[in-house]
């Protein structure tokens, strides 16, 4: 996974150069696991069986998170 968007994308325009302080935040790839769980996504292999809503509930239970949103039912 490469989330270094600014280096991979050629079509970026520079308005004003600046750097980000190490005091705040962190790169997505380096996000600590506890934070990743609260600011991440999971791609679940859904075939037959439980509904999207049920799967979403299981995921919440497993990870102990309060909120989760799923990418819709099949069109």
């Amino acid at each position: 996974m490469n989330l270094n968007f600014d280096q991979t994308e050629k079509n970026v325009l520079l308005k004003k150069e600046s750097t980000s302080s190490d005091k705040f935040g962190c790169k997505p790839d380096e996000r600590p696991t506890e934070q990743l769980i609260k600011f991440g996504m999971i791609n679940i292999n859904k075939q037959q069986g439980p509904t999207s809503h049920q799967i979403s509930d299981y995921v919440k239970q497993i990870l102990g998170v309060k909120k989760a949103g799923h990418g819709g039912t099949l069109d």
Partner: protein, 242 residues
């Protein structure tokens, strides 16, 4: 497959609603049809198609056009046809198959449907609930690697979106729900047009918010005041950059 967004990432899901989709579908024809005729009909059913949404659907029931980008026949066995379809969001595959059957004067129905792609999420990078459970247990026991292979940062979802990057000093204002003013911007995608949805990122590539652009890329470069991006959804908690 089902992409699921967690906790503070939950609202990113809305950007998937408009993404193109890919499915593998199993169609059962109600009569024997030659392979040649099936192939010919798929050619006809590729490109722009007209569709009446099914009775049970979330949208107004009137004919609408949808794009079918590609069809790949995977297997034909008797009256069963397994195929891959890549289509615009809001294409009803069950209906597509029903109409396909009408065109052949045979009738047809859908026996199975699996989504194989939504945006960057595919059947190549999916995981079972069982693996999620196991990896969480392992994480609690001290090994975080398996879980980190399953959960991707929310930024994975916006990798193909148009983007603006802002200075550290602008981040906390955005977290509080302020629109993004031009002086706050450091870099941006060169292909933004007015009213595009853009992802607003820190210089470390963290997602702060999603918004709608008030101007195109060149105007953002030139303007020294004015609102560049109207806020839609904030993701980053207040205080992350203060």
């Amino acid at each position: 497959m089902l992409p699921i967004a967690l906790e503070n990432a939950t609202r990113i899901i809305q950007i998937f609603l408009k993404e193109r989709k890919e499915y593998v579908a199993l169609m059962h024809l109600h009569k024997e049809i030659s392979n040649e005729e099936i192939k010919k009909t798929f050619d006809e059913f590729t490109g722009t198609i007209k569709q009446l949404p099914p009775i049970k659907s979330a949208v107004k029931r009137q004919e609408r056009f949808r794009r079918v980008y590609s069809i790949e026949i995977l297997e034909i066995e008797g009256r069963d046809v397994l195929f891959r379809i890549e289509c615009e969001a809001g294409t009803y595959v069950r209906k597509y198959i029903h109409d396909f059957g009408l065109r052949l004067n045979s009738g047809a129905h859908m026996q199975q449907l699996i989504r194989t792609k939504t945006g960057p999420f595919t059947d190549k990078n999916w995981h079972s609930l069982h693996d999620l459970k196991d990896s969480y247990v392992e994480f609690k026991e001290g090994n975080e690697l398996p879980l980190r292979n399953i959960i991707v940062p929310v930024e994975f979802a916006i990798q193909h979106s148009k983007k603006v990057w802002v200075h550290d000093s602008a981040v906390d204002h955005l977290c509080h729900g302020s629109p993004l003013y031009n002086p706050g911007i450091s870099k941006l995608s060169d292909n933004i047009t007015k009213d595009d949805r853009v992802a607003v990122l820190t210089l470390k590539n963290e997602l702060i918010s999603l918004g709608l652009s008030s101007m195109d890329s060149n105007s953002i470069i030139k303007s020294q005041k004015d609102i560049a991006v109207k806020l839609e959804k904030v993701f980053m908690p207040v205080g992350t950059y203060s």
